[in-house]
Symmetry: C2
Subunit: 225 residues, 2 copies
């Protein structure tokens, strides 16, 4: 599914909003599609750059339109609103996170309990490294507050990532049913996320940055032993 | 130490800022002190009410001054700036959290490993209940971004709370030295905080609210077993 299709699907699944009529042209030729896809790519790249440079709070539609050389009204021909754009950016970051987890842990053995625990540690370390290397985009995923319900495709993008935790966890905790496994995977994710997010903010009460990797591994192993 | 003394100490420890001259009157009579303390109390109460009603983001000095019936300039005779006020509010919330932990867990036995683990679970549950009952004020502690370094008294208010974790943890992990114990207490805190904060936001990927208490207890026991 390309991003334009994703966006179209999104418009349908989100709660109704006032969208300029031009956002759904009656005739869409392949040429229009390809041009709109290119504009959407440029818009997402501009948004990612601005989020990395100055954070989510100061992101303005007007600046983004200027970045890619279109009028503000033209921006709403590409996406329905800023929420739609930020969801696409968030989803692209999650997709990269999933790819990083697959690349780094997908080949690791997962047959025995010990193997599964070590694979889970590797998943946690992938998450730490990804957060560290993509700090503003990673933060943005959690800072994003939408005016409308999360569309189904975005929900699936988030839930799909949990298989990286659930697969080893099902070996470690074979007695859990599907519901129990889902909850336990979320508990472990939130625990590791908590250590990393407070740690990378370098708050007074944080686990020191140079200890994050060890402590995340300790928690994962200790919780699963 | 009362809040006016705390504020005075704070002004010294924070990085220099432009503060109206009237903020440090040359003669402070007991009457002035008592009046200023009463004004500070009213100001903090007004800030807490507004944070609970509409969150930290929309808090404005002008509104707070109006709430307690003084001019905007008068507000800066009471506190140096909004950061100073928010730190005092944050600190008062932390103080209440510490009192809740002492009241609910201080009397629990802590001699054996099992006792210490159950005391730690009780500390985690106190934190969950406190966060639930004081959601906007609790969130504010973590949302607060200061322009200046954290003053020493505020740092101590935060670090002091960790004894509720470190005391049972020192029984559970007797081999850790002071530094190791500090880091481990922070790891456990951040893990439990992560589960609770994602959970209470009721995000898609959250541990369901009705399962939070069980999962926090599971994680604490599993990590310490």
């Amino acid at each position: 599914m390309n991003v334009v299709q994703k966006f179209s699907q999104k418009s349908r699944t989100m709660a109704p909003k006032t969208v300029p009529k031009t956002a759904t042209p009656t005739t869409v030729t392949p040429n229009t599609l390809s041009k709109r896809q290119a504009q959407l790519e440029a818009l997402m790249a501009a948004a990612e750059k601005r989020i990395c440079d100055s954070g989510l709070q100061s992101l303005k539609a007007r600046d983004l339109a200027a970045d890619i050389g279109i009028a503000l009204g033209g921006l709403y021909n590409i996406v329905a609103d800023m929420d739609a754009l930020l969801l696409l950016v968030s989803s692209r970051t999650l997709k990269r996170l999933g790819e990083a987890a697959t690349e780094r842990t997908g080949h690791l053995p997962n047959a025995t309990r010990e193997e599964a625990i070590e694979r889970l540690v590797a998943v946690a370390h992938t998450y730490l490294d990804f957060a560290r290397k993509n700090l503003p985009l990673w933060r943005m995923i959690f800072e994003l507050r939408l005016d409308s319900p999360l569309p189904e495709w975005a929900a699936q993008d988030q839930l799909r990532l949990f298989r990286h935790i659930a697969e080893p966890l099902s070996v470690i905790m074979p007695d859990l049913d599907a519901r129990g496994l889902t909850i336990r995977a979320r508990t472990l994710f939130a625990a590791v996320h908590g250590i990393i997010s407070i740690g990378l903010e370098e708050r007074l009460i944080a686990v020191p940055v140079q200890k994050l990797s060890d402590e995340v591994a300790w928690l994962t192993r200790a919780a699963c032993r």
